[in-house]
């Protein structure tokens, strides 16, 4: 077990370094973008004197490394800094955006896991037969449809033509739970592609596992079909799926810009988009930290789960 512990420790350390690298990279890239927050704010009135005044007010006239150092010093005290544009704390931006994003992610994953694994196992059990063909072709077809196209289609059909569901969540703000109907379409769109890739992964893993010598051995011992499938084959099939699932959760939590924009859900993706357009560097950095930490933690979790499910695979640090 100590091996596992040192593995976790090494991964966490590596993760911290990765997060620092992400933040540095994001800072450098944001600085490299043409224009800064002052130019972006001045918009179509690029009066040089005004831009200079804004720059001074935002302290953008200080050297980049100095601003980064200040921000990093604040970060050590848990202070993510304040927005250049509004002067509000970055933590508030993150807190406000995280609620809707988390809600969507939780709902999506709650439906994704049973649907993905269920359909995957079902297809594997009927490999090569009509049920499998149907599931495989439908998942392939849906996977090929980009989110925005599916989103527009669903809104047109279910909201505008049939009038069953509200087309957007506009005006509901963070109180999305009070309007569950508004969540149906965005969750469906978010679900569409991950469910397909998960089904296909589980199906492939299951088929491989069912054809493997240890399953044949189990069968020879007279273990029942269901037990072979669910306690012997499935865990092995799940290992790659768990990592795919982690990537999906990461994708969901880091703000799904297209879905948020289409359905007017004020999540992290919207915050990120606004911050980049405004060159609001502290907000972009704050998001980079959050996204970096999330990615590291989720991937570590997935590795641990994969390790649990299929110890033979070992863990590659």
């Amino acid at each position: 077990m100590s091996g596992l512990r040192s593995f976790v420790a090494r991964r966490l350390l590596l993760g911290a370094l990765q997060t620092v690298a992400v933040v540095l990279l994001v800072f450098a890239l944001t600085e490299a973008l043409p224009g800064d927050a002052a130019v972006a704010l001045a918009g179509d009135q690029p009066d040089p004197a005004r831009i200079a005044a804004i720059r001074e007010a935002m302290e953008l006239d200080r050297p980049a490394w100095e601003r980064l150092a200040d921000w990093a010093a604040g970060l050590l005290h848990g202070d993510l800094g304040t927005s250049l544009v509004s002067g509000r704390p970055v933590s508030r931006y993150l807190a406000d955006g995280f609620g809707p994003t988390l809600l969507l992610a939780v709902l999506t994953v709650a439906l994704l896991v049973p649907a993905g694994f269920g359909l995957g196992v079902l297809a594997a059990r009927h490999a090569g037969r009509p049920v499998d063909r149907l599931i495989s072709s439908v998942t392939l077809a849906v996977y090929a449809v980009p989110e925005f196209a599916l989103g527009v289609l669903l809104v047109t059909v279910f909201a505008l033509r049939l009038g069953w569901l509200p087309p957007t969540a506009v005006g509901y703000g963070a109180d999305l739970l009070a309007h569950p109907a508004a969540l149906v379409l965005p969750v469906l769109v978010l679900l569409s592609r991950p469910v397909c890739s998960l089904v296909r992964l589980v199906r492939a893993g299951m088929i491989d596992a069912l054809a493997s010598p240890y399953v044949a051995q189990a069968r020879r011992y007279g273990v029942s079909g269901a037990r072979v499938r669910y306690t012997h084959a499935l865990p092995n099939a799940l290992a790659p799926a768990a990592q795919q699932l982690a990537r999906t959760v990461d994708w969901l939590l880091c703000g799904v810009v297209v879905v948020e924009a289409l359905y007017v859900i004020p999540g992290l993706g919207t915050v990120l988009l606004g911050a980049v357009a405004e060159r609001d560097v502290p907000v972009v950095q704050g998001l980079a930290v959050v996204f970096g930490v999330l990615t590291v933690v989720l991937n570590l979790g997935a590795d641990l789960i994969a390790h649990r499910l299929a110890p033979r695979a070992g863990v590659a640090a």
Binding site: R50, G163, V170, G171, G173, V257, T270, A275
Partner: protein, 527 residues
């Protein structure tokens, strides 16, 4: 240095539009033209008697989580719409961009036009206190604070705020640095809202004198305001107004069609055509809202030769540009700003494409086989389309135009001093403001580098002329000069398109975006 009054309506909000358009969602691409029958103008003023009550939800593209209710920081359309619901200015623009009295009941100047006495009407803030001369001075001094960078600061520059003073509870004597005949334009300047004396924080319980009072505000999401019963112009018809933010045009349309909002601001021409006269929603087209131009830098080759500029005027097929780049939602321009506005020189003949004459002019200028780079960007709707169309038109006159795409976020700053030819647009503002901001030697955003002492002198002459007819004659002279050899090739004026639910009445259909009656909700009611 420049008596600019309103700042043009900013379009940074449009930055966001580019995003999904790129992924194809907004790709109801601009095609063809509908010409678009006029809007429901009778829907505006005379559609039965107003009904009281109800809540109207209005969707705007917004500024995300950085939004604020500080009226002096107003930058986007959504900011202005909220600001004008909560606050008032001393004056505001009518449909022809002339200044109309608002909190100011009247203004009068001395003979030399450098001292103006403004008398306030009797109005109260939402906390019941009266609007006084001190509030006005405080507000203007806050805007002009050198440590701040409020947008209206440059507009208020003509005022000597140290010398200006309150001469009564509701009387202010403004001392100006120089004669300013169009001083009322300054009072109507973009963002020059009156706030109570010593007001600083505006995100919690902002107090104004506008038709609606604050209820709640969540930046980037929604703002709810309630009717102010003691509003000086009479209480609004609506009980409540809610501003909601939806940055994607398709989301605003969907929310309107789905009954989630009753008013959707800033729609695409294609959307308008799809839903016009279909009975589900009403489409309102605000004419003359956004000037569309190509901007030639007159201080550098090849445009330092006026014959090249004149040739370019003749290369443009304006109808084709309006139909192609604006989807027909607009009207053609005549190389002059402010079609339909006060002082517009409408007596000049409409310029048409004349490739033969253009070629001849280029030949005279020794610019045959001319190559020029046209800067554009997805910063505003129709920009890249206009650039492509103009490239093809120029080809017919033997001019090779190379289109160069620039960054959306820094476009306006990039084109101010760089390049020689670029796409340009401007929101509505008085013609005087357009001149002072862009066409004088010391103008801060002089993108055509139009610098002529005699032209500056004409502007000063206009500002020192008391008689309006005489002043109009000076403006006409200036416009003739620009028409003949200016740096702005103004090919069109885009409509600003708004969608409303069927029961919404009293929405003004005449006011260009950025004027008093645009995005004005105290006169709107739900039938």
């Amino acid at each position: 240095m420049h008596d600019d009054s309103t700042r043009s309506l900013p379009f940074p909000a449009l930055r966001r539009r580019g995003f999904l358009a790129a992924t194809g969602l907004g790709a109801l691409t601009l095609t063809g033209c509908g010409g678009g029958s006029g809007s429901d103008s009778d829907d505006g003023a005379g559609d039965g008697s107003p009904k009281k009550g109800g809540r109207l939800r209005a969707a705007f593209a917004g500024g995300g989580a950085s939004e604020t209710l500080d009226p002096h920081l107003a930058n986007l359309f959504a900011d202005v719409a909220r600001a004008k619901a909560l606050f008032d200015k001393l004056a505001d623009y009518g449909a022809d961009l002339s200044a109309q009295p608002r909190l100011a009941a009247k203004w009068e100047s001395n003979k030399t036009l450098d001292r103006w006495r403004v008398t306030l009407r009797e109005a109260t803030f939402h906390d019941g206190s009266p609007v006084t001369a001190q509030d006005v001075l405080y507000s203007y001094r806050r805007i002009a604070d050198p440590k701040q960078a409020f947008r209206a600061k440059a507009s208020l520059e003509p005022i000597d705020l140290d010398a200006s003073r309150a001469t009564g509870e509701r009387v202010i004597e403004f001392v100006l640095k120089r004669p300013t005949a169009e001083f009322p334009n300054v009072l109507a300047a973009f963002g020059a809202y009156i706030v109570p004396e010593n007001a600083t924080g505006f995100d919690k319980e902002p107090v104004g004198s506008g038709p609606f009072r604050f209820v709640s505000f969540a930046p980037g999401r929604s703002a709810v305001f309630r009717r102010y019963d003691d509003y000086w112009e009479g209480a609004p018809h609506l009980d409540e107004i809610e501003f909601v933010v939806a940055n994607e045009e398709s989301a605003r349309v969907n929310a309107l069609l789905g009954g989630q909002v009753e008013y959707a601001h800033e729609l695409n021409p294609t959307t308008a055509r799809a839903h016009e006269d279909q009975g589900r929603i009403e489409i309102v087209r605000l004419r003359g809202s956004a000037m569309q131009a190509f901007c030639m830098k007159t201080d550098r080759p090849p445009f330092d030769d006026e014959r090249v500029r004149q040739a370019f005027f003749l290369i443009a097929d304006r109808r084709e540009l309006v139909d192609g780049a604006l989807s027909g939602a607009g009207e053609v321009g005549n190389d002059l700003f402010g079609k339909g506005y006060e002082y517009y020189a409408d007596g000049l003949p409409q310029r048409e494409q004349d490739l033969g004459k253009a070629r001849a002019l280029l030949k005279q200028a020794g610019a045959e086989g001319l190559k020029v780079t046209l800067d554009t960007s997805a910063v505003a709707a129709g920009f890249t389309e206009a650039a492509g169309i103009f490239r093809d038109q120029a080809k017919k006159a033997g001019v090779t135009v190379e289109v160069r795409m620039g960054s959306k976020d820094s476009y306006w700053s990039d084109i101010l001093d760089n390049g020689s030819l670029c796409c340009y647009r401007s929101g509505a503002m008085p013609i005087e403001a357009h001149i002072s901001q862009r066409l004088l030697t010391d103008s801060t955003t002089n993108a055509t580098k139009w610098r002529h002492k005699d032209f500056d002198a004409l502007y000063q002459q206009a500002q020192s002329t008391r008689d309006k007819t005489e002043r109009a004659a000076v403006y006409e002279r200036m416009q003739r000069r620009l028409y003949g050899e200016g740096g702005f090739l103004i090919w069109g004026f885009a409509d600003w398109i708004i969608g409303t639910a069927r029961g919404v009445k009293g929405v003004d259909a005449e006011a260009p975006a950025n004027t008093l009656d645009w995005a004005r909700f105290d006169t709107v009611w739900l039938a």
